[in-house]
């Protein structure tokens, strides 16, 4: 338990650090939402100053930081000047969409990578392993951005899949199961791109750590004792390889979210990515800060979950 407590504290401190740093950077940034207004001859300098005072942009940095932290603790991420609405409600739908996309893709990718990687590790040196290695290397060299564009193009051309977005226009009038089906139909392409992007790396790591377990002395002795192959693979070797794989899952979260950002933008998936981009273009720092904090918390929470899982799975960590 002390181990988990330490990890929790560590994650919390990281988030505090990120928030302070991004606040300072946002302050140093030239221009804010109102700097465009200032160049407009029809808006007087006094109006701009008044607007800035109204949104609290003229107060000193520590005061603003304290106020921001206080409001974030109340679940309020400030006020978006570009969208003219509180940031909170703006965010939640986006967070749900991003998590739905990234979560589905992660589960599917692991479900495919585990059997494939295990099979490759057992078939090392045979043609099946070589073929899958070549195919996966080639897949690794295709940028997700290109995949997303091509998939979208094929979707538009064939008409089998929607051309982006998360729901069809008449979604509100559908009933429960139809709504789920509609979202799943929209989810298919972005998830496919994400899975194809993740798969080569995952398979490679599964193969490597399983190969290590297979070559270990305890695997040899287990085989000598006549433990059936399947039981050996899944009951003895997979748990031994799991340590590295769980670390990888936590570690690859950042890559996953980054890839997801691009795919969301290309495919019009209403997640955090497009919102982030729009906020940057509009210099809407309240939204930028909120998205930065959220993406950092995804990583911190993801790594924390991986740590807890490791703690449960690997007795070596519990002993420390």
């Amino acid at each position: 338990m002390r181990y988990i407590g330490r990890r929790l504290l560590h994650g919390f401190l990281l988030l505090v650090g990120v928030s302070v740093l991004s606040f300072v950077f946002a302050d140093l940034a030239p221009g804010d939402y109102f700097s465009e207004l200032r160049t407009n001859p029809r808006v007087s300098a006094e109006t701009v100053a008044a607007l800035r005072a109204q949104s609290g942009l003229d107060r000193p940095l520590p005061v603003r930081y304290a106020a921001w932290v206080a409001s974030v603790l109340r679940g309020d991420f400030g006020y978006s000047l570009a969208y003219n609405s509180p940031v909170g409600p703006l965010l939640w739908g986006r967070v749900r969409a991003t998590l739905l996309l990234a979560g589905t893709a992660t589960i599917l990718a692991w479900l495919m990578a585990l059997p494939l990687g295990i099979w490759n590790a057992t078939a090392r040196g045979k043609w099946g392993d070589s073929v899958s290695k070549v195919v996966l290397s080639f897949l690794l060299a295709i940028p997700e951005l290109l995949l997303a564009i091509v998939f979208l193009m094929l979707a538009v051309e064939s008409g089998y899949f929607p051309a982006g977005g998360m729901v069809s226009p008449g979604w509100a009038s559908l009933n429960g199961p139809e709504r789920v089906g509609d979202v799943a139909w929209h989810l298919a392409l972005p998830v496919a791109v994400l899975v194809l992007g993740m798969l080569p790396t995952l398979v490679r790591h599964v193969r490597a750590s399983m190969a290590e377990a297979i070559d270990s002395p305890f695997a040899l002795s287990a085989r000598a004792q006549g433990i059936p192959r399947r039981r050996l693979l899944f009951r003895h070797l997979l748990p031994a390889a799991a340590n590295q794989l769980i670390s990888l899952a936590g570690f690859s979260l950042g890559t996953l979210l980054s890839a997801s950002l691009l795919i969301e933008v290309v495919m019009g998936w209403p997640g955090l990515g497009p919102l982030f981009l729009e906020a940057i273009m509009a210099r809407d720092f309240a939204v930028v800060l909120a998205v930065v904090m959220l993406s950092a918390s995804f990583l911190v929470v993801g790594n924390l979950l991986a740590d807890i899982l490791l703690y449960r799975m690997d007795p070596r960590i519990r002993m420390k």
Binding site: F25, L146, I149, V150, R283, V288, S295, F298
Partner: protein, 307 residues
Amino acid sequence: MSRRTKIGAALVFLGILHGLAIFAGFLAPYPYAEQHREFPYLPPTRIHWSGLRPFVQDGARRYPIQFFVHGRLVGVEAPGVIFLLGSDAYGRDLFSRLLYGGRVSLLTGLLAAFLSLGLGLALGTAAGFHGGWLDQILMRAGELVMALPWLYLLLAVRAFLPLHITTVQAFFLLIVIIGGVGWVRPARMIRGVVLSARERGFVLAARGFGASDAYLIRRHILPLTLGVVLTQATVLIPQYILAEVALSFLGLGVSEPVPSWGNMLAEAQQYHALVAHGWMLAPGLAIIPVLLGYLLLADTLLESRNQ
């Protein structure tokens, strides 16, 4: 294939690809911004042969392809045009733009990787060799940088910098952002190497003979980091090329009319009838051989380091 041949082949392949971009000024039939407004979205020009002499045809007129004209490898007499990969919305030659765009994208990858390896080497060596508070500060700072998903971090840093800047400024800004943000991973790995090197017998012996820190680092420690630096370079360069492509694609990097593979792809995507103009995807496809080359290099280097 032996490992040596593999590395050699990958290097030659990458050399050719980079050479194509470097000599864009000679190889490209047109300057990157030259517009032929009368030919928007022209499909790739067909090349005909009369005997051994190639020519292009426009209606009934024939324009022979000339070599070494106006300081360029190929060209045809106006009003004939030669668009080897077709043209874009403004009738600009996609092939020429691809070569010039490769300059921007590949150079960003190389320079940014150079920057972050340099930073990683300096900070990693400092942290590993000095240890103590310096190590603590640098490693905690590294954790802060790694606390954000990579692309979110790049965008956030970009967000806090001016949006409207010239192309040259944007180019250097990209290098500084991408390279500056990427120091953590190389620094950590180099720190690990330095930590173990510091305790090696010959280093301790040299120290016992009164060698200064600067001498130890230069003569004994830095050479040991070479392997890590090289493998990291082969991993980072393609990653940074993709970063440039992503940022320019999103409109936060190099902007029109200067081409980069990223902003060229953005153009392709904007145009919803990409179906009808498939050649607009060329910049995206051009990334694939570059990534393959670096992958082969990285894999081979890793293999030889593991044995």
